[in-house]
Assembly symmetry: C3
Amino acid sequence: MKNFIYTSDIVDLNNFIDKSIKLKQLPNKYSMMGNNKTLGMIFFNPSLRTRLSTQKAAQNLGIKAITMNFNDEGWPIELEDKVVMDQNKSEHIKEAARVMSIYCDFIAVRAFPSLESKKKDLEDKVINGFKRYASVPVINMESSIAHPLQALADAITIKENKKNKSPKIVLSWAPHPKALPHAVANSFVNITKRMDAKLTITHPEGYELNSDVTNGVYVTNDQNEAFKNADFIYAKNWSSFNNYGKVFKKDLDWMITKSKMNLTNNAKFMHCLPIRRNVVASDEVIESNNSLILNQVENRIYSAQSVLKTIIENG
Amino acid sequence: MKNFIYTSDIVDLNNFIDKSIKLKQLPNKYSMMGNNKTLGMIFFNPSLRTRLSTQKAAQNLGIKAITMNFNDEGWPIELEDKVVMDQNKSEHIKEAARVMSIYCDFIAVRAFPSLESKKKDLEDKVINGFKRYASVPVINMESSIAHPLQALADAITIKENKKNKSPKIVLSWAPHPKALPHAVANSFVNITKRMDAKLTITHPEGYELNSDVTNGVYVTNDQNEAFKNADFIYAKNWSSFNNYGKVFKKDLDWMITKSKMNLTNNAKFMHCLPIRRNVVASDEVIESNNSLILNQVENRIYSAQSVLKTIIENG
Amino acid sequence: MKNFIYTSDIVDLNNFIDKSIKLKQLPNKYSMMGNNKTLGMIFFNPSLRTRLSTQKAAQNLGIKAITMNFNDEGWPIELEDKVVMDQNKSEHIKEAARVMSIYCDFIAVRAFPSLESKKKDLEDKVINGFKRYASVPVINMESSIAHPLQALADAITIKENKKNKSPKIVLSWAPHPKALPHAVANSFVNITKRMDAKLTITHPEGYELNSDVTNGVYVTNDQNEAFKNADFIYAKNWSSFNNYGKVFKKDLDWMITKSKMNLTNNAKFMHCLPIRRNVVASDEVIESNNSLILNQVENRIYSAQSVLKTIIENG
């Protein structure tokens, strides 16, 4: 593993999950591994879990983390090639990536989509620009279309909590007042497709995800049907993909409630957080013994730590 | 000590002050104590002394500090229970506190009052919410109604500088152009009430502090009378408590001047900073040999370090 | 060296450059030198290279760096003496500098000019205020009129890359859409004047730099003439000094292009970054083998590290 941009950068997923679970047992075992190494973390968007868990992962390996909020502490960057830069962008991504590569041993980047131009968002220009121009490994802390550190934490959580060899996992759309990206859903689908699991996606009509991602996955608009026999319910909102970035359903019909959870095979409840209580899911579901949300939170440390450790070992 | 929310969390104040003064002699003596521990510092409001001194205290104990400006780098949090979160709050304090507890071994929080709703501010919801939902110790870096790290630093400073067993300490209101919280005044009163000292509070009419705090303390509206025989003058502005958050006196009559200091028993001058020069106090007073403002600043390190150390020892 | 405010704080420049180049060979050789020391870095303006390279330099010496964005995370500071502080400035620079001196072993400051009042900017009040009131060493991370850490990195880069004993160095004005400070140009002129080099400055009429700085340096308005036989072309935009802060030439005539570089003695190209591509210089020039921009970036680490190390040794 040279970079960690998409879940596909993990070659042997099952083995990677196992190694991450092992790391969790002795998180400080490799505390000298990152000696004299620096992780540059740059944020174009807000973050709580990613910001903290990635710093914690770095600390556990003895890596020094430097954080930078690019918009406030830096300036807008130009992504397009051959542009006459006489407008508001002060620096080209070529320089930004090359400069970061000189000061840091890894570059981690968070950059959300505009949700305005589907074409541009699908190119995932910021993270791929950093990958292209950096001379050090680049790690995706959530890009326009992917959140692989979250997906890896989710996969670890599923492996730790599954009760049968090939559990039924349901990714269910849930309501949200704002237009949200597809990154978490995309990466979750991509990683669970590679696990020993039966994946179902359920969402209201009009909320189809990118068919390149959901290709081969069973999709239904009947949430109740989807929940039957489910072992894991993964709730997540996303805005429309076809009617790009639009939100046309704001009622709470699709909220995950206790009565819906009762349709399942005593399923575990998952969500990547932050979660809108009593919108995405009811208090009852979030607080129930079947809720794994804090397990996912904890596994964000070992997801990031496992990626950093693997990159160092392969370096 | 499990948490440090209010000065009342210190059980044996005199002993705690003595231990803090001892720590100051050898600040790096316990530099391995915090090995592999992380302090999460979250700010809902600006900070200079608290930000730096708490980081320095953590460093002295070998604790890694991670800072986060919650408003810019995160998002607004919901404090109310059972709310349908379909407005502008992205995350509930329950999740925020529980998540921070997974990534950090201590959580330090700064959250000022609104100065709009007295009832809400008195509930001190942010710091108490973190205390309630966190599974790790929570430290108050100034809340709606208390600033115990400042008060402890002030108590250390008084103990170091008092010339008689039971000094006369005067907390004097002073002018300020903006509406300020009551937190510093509250915690100062609460801590000095427990010291061997004679406390007097003086302020213009209409600036009475919360009577639950000042209960039993001598209060006068005659600043000159108050200053007589004083050993310490602690200047501080606060907005009206009864006419909540209002400022109805902006002239400089109550500024601490050299001629007022001349009424005292060669009193030391104290203020928590930042200080508006020639508004709260004159340049002359601030720069005089009797000014202890930088001693207070320095003791902020040992106040925070003593709290962190005690929490680790009790943990 | 007690402070590093201007390039003139380096007494023996040639020796200092040599020591910096030596440090670059073994950057972690002195990793215990800064044990228990804290560098406070305060930013009144954005920064990428300075922010990261100074942190990296501190890490290499084992110094803990604390960053603070003064405007967002703190408040506006008062620079004038004897002011009645009843307006928007919450703290005087006297307190800010003295407080930082208690928590930090070094203070590094970035504060750009207003480009509105030439008189005020020339006084360089923020950095000089910190120097005056701090009791610990103060380091300039770019002030109103100087950027000595950049100039030192530039001098190191020239020494490493020069092919003859006394190279011809050309500082060329180049276009930019916004009004920029004179700090980089000033410090570059000041440091190259002291090197074994032939310095030429070229700019359009009306863009004369401060004559106190350029005194004794050959200046021409003919860019083509200037480039003849040049060994180094240092491109930089600055706003008018005489017509203070004004921009009255926005066309791209003065952009550094390949055909202009062809007039030189196979000159190296330099710029401090961030660079507006195809405005300040063409893509071709920036990407050419003769471009030293990333060498300058790398030398920012050793420039800062050499300054910190020297300050510690002299302390």
